[in-house]
């Protein structure tokens, strides 16, 4: 990138006429007055502050865009955070949002995404954008959302009285680093570049015209654009540091001016500089001795909005498929018999479809049999280590307590689940096991009615071992009778992948027939 100077050429094109608005000799209106909230002036900024220039160049760029690019300024929103720069939102006569400290960028993100027609500009200070809002700054750059971020950097927290900040040069003094800053600052364009920003620039406010050109370009840029504006803090930063010290402390406004002159002297315009080489240089005393300026990078990247629009098309296609499946959902007559509270515990290991099996029962009960059902699954440490558990409560009446209190039956598909859940079953409960995977221990509860089926083996024989849970569901349906067979069949068909509906329904049938056969006799 070094040495490339096409930007200057473009800046020439963007320079246009320098006189924009119409001044009015009768009212004495300044051409920029239309974009200022005159009733809010005078502003709060100190004499010698660079923010007036930053605002002027910003307004100049907007008026140029209005005049030369046909921008409707009603569609421009300005968002700022907290601090001296943050006050710009309150002085500019556009839709403007003065948000919380550091949060201008996410606020702007919502504003822009919800109405892509808007041109959204974030303008805020270095503490706001790179300190408290640093995380938002890098993530917005990563997304390449089409907003412009202008960070006015005065090397310290000015509004609160000159504390050290994320951009304070090493060894420089601030109110809270009276012995010199022992930390190192961000190089903001480099940070933005590393985060994925595609348009990067820096100017000091003394280079006002260049800055204005760059602001035009940044706002026109299709993607995330970042402009760092170096501005003097005449009251705070200049008081403590070599560039400002040595000036007559009585003359505050001079201090700012002297600082600007200093920036002019040490500013080095070098478009196309690699951002890593654009760090602000200081001497041992922390005095700034070189500021590289220019447009460092403008490499267009895929636009965020376009990516979102593409997603919408895919999503709408999927919706058509979902809707079709739902519209084909058949209905069966509502169950009229009374089902007392039935509590089902399902247990096994991960991958057996224990959670799906529970949900299939619940869906069959509610959607097809029109019963009440409440399905929950085990989360957290309990669900780790390969163990899987889910629970369903079924009843004709509303279910007040969603958890199992006295499980009336259980589907158990692993030895671990057997050990875990069987002791908790209600007296006289019905236990259904995959007896190919679960071995009943010598000493076991004699009160339980236990039925076994080699579910996994049957499913394998049918051609899909993953249908083992469906075999268990068939058995459960026949033995327990809380949910109708037709409801269960429909629910199974809803839940499994379309290509496996047949094998699952066969698996269900196998389990169901075994259940019918075993019913009334304790098989195990």
């Amino acid at each position: 990138m070094a040495g490339r100077d096409i930007t200057d050429e473009r800046q020439f094109e963007l320079s246009g006429t320098e006189s924009f608005g119409e001044s009015d000799w009768i009212t004495g209106l300044h051409p920029m007055d239309v974009l200022l909230r005159g009733e809010r002036l005078p502003h709060i900024w100190c004499q010698g502050c660079g923010l007036g220039t930053a605002l002027t160049t910003f307004i100049g760029a907007l008026q140029w865009l209005e005049k030369n690019q046909g921008w409707d300024l009603d569609k421009v929103s300005v968002v700022s955070g907290i601090g001296c720069t943050g006050r710009i939102a309150g002085y500019i006569r556009l839709d403007s949002f003065h948000t919380t400290h550091g949060r201008a960028i996410p606020f702007a993100t919502g504003l822009k995404l919800a109405n892509p027609e808007l041109k959204v500009v974030v303008i805020s200070g270095d503490g706001d954008i790179a300190g408290i809002g640093g995380n938002h700054f890098i993530h917005a750059a990563r997304r390449n959302l089409d907003i412009t971020v202008i960070c006015v950097n005065n090397f310290n927290y000015g509004m609160t009285g000159g504390q050290v900040g994320p951009t304070t040069p090493h060894a420089a003094r601030a109110v809270t680093t009276q012995y010199g800053n022992f930390e190192y600052p961000f190089n903001l364009p480099y940070l933005a570049a590393a985060s994925g920003a595609s348009f990067l620039a820096r100017w000091t406010v003394i280079h006002a015209r260049r800055l204005e050109w760059t602001l035009r370009e940044a706002m026109m840029y299709p993607g995330y654009s970042f402009v760092e504006v170096i501005a003097p803090c005449s009251t705070s930063y200049a008081r403590w540091n070599p560039e400002g010290r040595g000036l007559d402390p009585e003359k505050l406004r001079r201090r700012g001016l002297e600082l600007m002159k200093h920036y002019q002297a040490i500013g080095k315009v070098a478009h196309g500089t690699h951002p890593k080489d654009a760090a602000i240089k200081v001497n041992k005393e922390g005095a700034i001795i070189e500021i590289v300026e220019g447009v460092f990078s403008d490499e267009p990247k895929p636009d965020f909005q376009t990516a979102i629009d593409e997603q919408v098309q895919i999503a709408k296609g999927r919706w058509q498929a979902t809707q079709k499946a739902l519209s084909e959902r058949s209905q069966i007559p509502k169950r009229t018999d009374i089902i007392r509270r039935t509590e089902v515990q399902l247990g096994g290991f991960g991958g057996q479809g224990i959670v799906s099996a529970g949900r299939i029962i619940g869906q069959a009960a509610t959607i097809y049999d029109k019963l009440e059902a409440c399905f929950t699954q085990s989360y957290g440490p309990e669900a780790r280590g390969g163990a899987a558990g889910s629970q369903v409560v079924i009843a004709s009446d509303p279910i007040h307590h969603p958890h199992l209190i006295e499980p009336t039956n259980a589907i158990i598909m692993s030895q671990e689940a057997y050990a875990k859940y069987v002791p908790k079953l209600a007296t006289g409960a019905t236990l259904l096991i995959d007896d190919g995977l679960v071995t009943l221990p010598e000493e076991r509860r004699q009160d339980l009615k236990t039925y076994g089926i080699p579910a996994t083996q049957i499913a394998e024989e049918l051609g899909n071992s993953r249908a083992a849970n469906t075999v268990m569901l068939g058995l459960w349906t026949a033995i327990i009778g809380a949910v109708s067979k037709s409801a269960m069949q429909r629910s199974v068909a809803d839940a499994v992948p379309p290509k496996t509906v047949e094998v699952n329904l066969n698996a269900f049938e196998a389990g169901f027939n075994k259940g019918l056969h075993d019913q009334g006799s304790n098989a195990v």
């Binding site: 403007s96 949060r103 996410p106 606020f107 993100t109 919502g110 504003l111 109405n115 399905f375």
Partner: protein
């Protein structure tokens, strides 16, 4: 953003739906077309559902870098005219407090779903709690009123999320749906009526051409003006060139740094809710007429109290049931009135007694107030509540309960 109400992509009918998904479907039915969030158990499924469903209805889902950003993004989207929502749980709720305050101050309609888990701090990520109820009321700094709803089932998560949007729009305020891990992670039948049967409220809004921008005031005194109590809102891009700020401000939205402005500002923020308390507060009441004991509860704890209540009634204890569907604003007058005629309030909740304090405040010593508490991790055991009811009635805690 959505001038016409399109029915394309809306899910209707009966579904066996996860609570978190029901919140997402409620939001979409309410017209929510912008969701910004950050993954957090047990609220993640709200975001997951939104990420699939919003693009299907032409909306925007974005996962932000944290909950600070999520809350801000939904505020920004709301100022672009979108109905917007986020969902989180305890740790994220704490981060959202900063900009919940901004939302209140700017008078921004939006909805925040908190699927509560056990705290404090990282606490119990996967397990239930109701420990953010006071944070919901007072979590952001400064004086304000807030609206918080508490659903007790996936169906109510659907219904109350729609209501939350309606209240948010009507009163220009962020509304909290304070659910919990139990309800959020529970799957039950959810009946979604066709959109024609659902009443939706849109924010009071001025559009381009309605008012001369020079005379437009983004905030007005709640007791002045014919349009009602809530100032009409403008949205970005309509030419009003308005300004809003988190600073104390005047009717133009301009910073106003003095005591009078602060009084004007805060009074507006609290009055617009307090004056409409009757409309906002929704309660479910059973058997209050001749009750000697009244159970005051909300969300899952109210629901799990129903069986113990029925049981105690069978034992001859006269028990009433008052469920706070709206938790904030608190039904102060109702509790105050009931306190005069009863022996005790029993307040089951999954925390160390948060709403209990409100009940105590309103009972003002006229009735005993007894907490039944579980400190996160699980819902209340029916037996624990039943024992408390017996104790409140002065009866011995004997009979082993029979769930059937």
């Amino acid at each position: 953003m959505q001038p016409m109400r399109s029915h394309e992509g809306l899910l209707i009918g009966e579904h066996f739906l996860l609570g978190d998904y029901a919140a997402a479907e409620g939001a979409i039915m309410a017209g929510c077309r912008f969701f910004a969030g950050y993954p957090i158990t047990p609220a993640t499924e709200v975001a997951e559902r939104m990420s699939t469903r919003l693009p299907q209805v032409g909306g925007i889902y974005i996962q932000m870098e944290d909950e600070l950003a999520s809350m801000n993004a939904i505020l920004g989207a709301s100022w672009s005219g979108a109905k917007s929502m986020t969902a989180t749980s305890g740790p994220g709720f704490s981060l959202m407090m900063e900009n919940l305050g901004l939302g209140i101050m700017l008078e921004t309609p939006c909805v925040l779903v908190n699927v509560q888990r056990g705290g404090p701090s990282t606490g119990l990520p996967t397990l239930v709690g109701q420990q953010d109820m006071m944070q919901a009321r007072w979590g952001s700094h400064g004086d304000y009123e807030i609206i918080a709803l508490s659903p007790n089932s996936p169906q109510e998560l659907f219904d109350l999320t729609i209501r939350a949007f309606n209240l948010a729009e009507k009163f220009r305020i962020p509304v909290l749906v304070m659910t919990d891990a139990e309800v959020g992670h529970m799957t039950e039948r959810v009946i979604i009526p066709p959109p024609e049967e659902i009443e939706l409220i849109q924010r009071p809004l001025v559009r381009k051409g309605d008012v001369d921008p020079d005379h437009f005031r983004i905030y007005r005194d709640p007791e002045s003006g014919d349009d009602g109590d809530v100032s009409p809102m403008a949205i970005a891009g309509e030419g009003f060139r308005f300004h809003v700020t988190g600073l104390t401000h005047d009717e133009r939205g301009y910073p106003a740094m003095n005591a009078e402005a602060s009084e004007w500002n805060i009074k507006r923020l609290v009055k617009k809710i307090r004056l409409h308390r009757d409309e906002i507060i929704q309660l479910e009441e059973r058997h209050l007429e001749d009750a000697e004991i009244i159970v005051v509860s909300y969300g899952i704890s109210a629901r799990t109290s129903l069986w113990p209540i029925e049981q105690a009634q069978k034992e001859g204890i006269r028990i009433g049931y008052l469920r706070l569907i709206t938790v904030w604003p608190f039904p102060e007058e109702r509790i105050r009135a009931l306190a005069k005629n009863i022996r005790a309030f029993v307040v089951p909740e999954i925390n160390d007694g948060q709403i209990l304090r409100e009940v105590e405040r309103c009972a003002a010593g006229q009735a005993q107030v007894i907490g039944v508490n579980r400190l996160g991790g699980d819902i209340l055991e029916p037996q624990q509540v039943l024992s408390a009811l017996r104790a409140a009635a002065g009866k011995p805690d004997t009979a082993e309960a029979d769930m059937s």
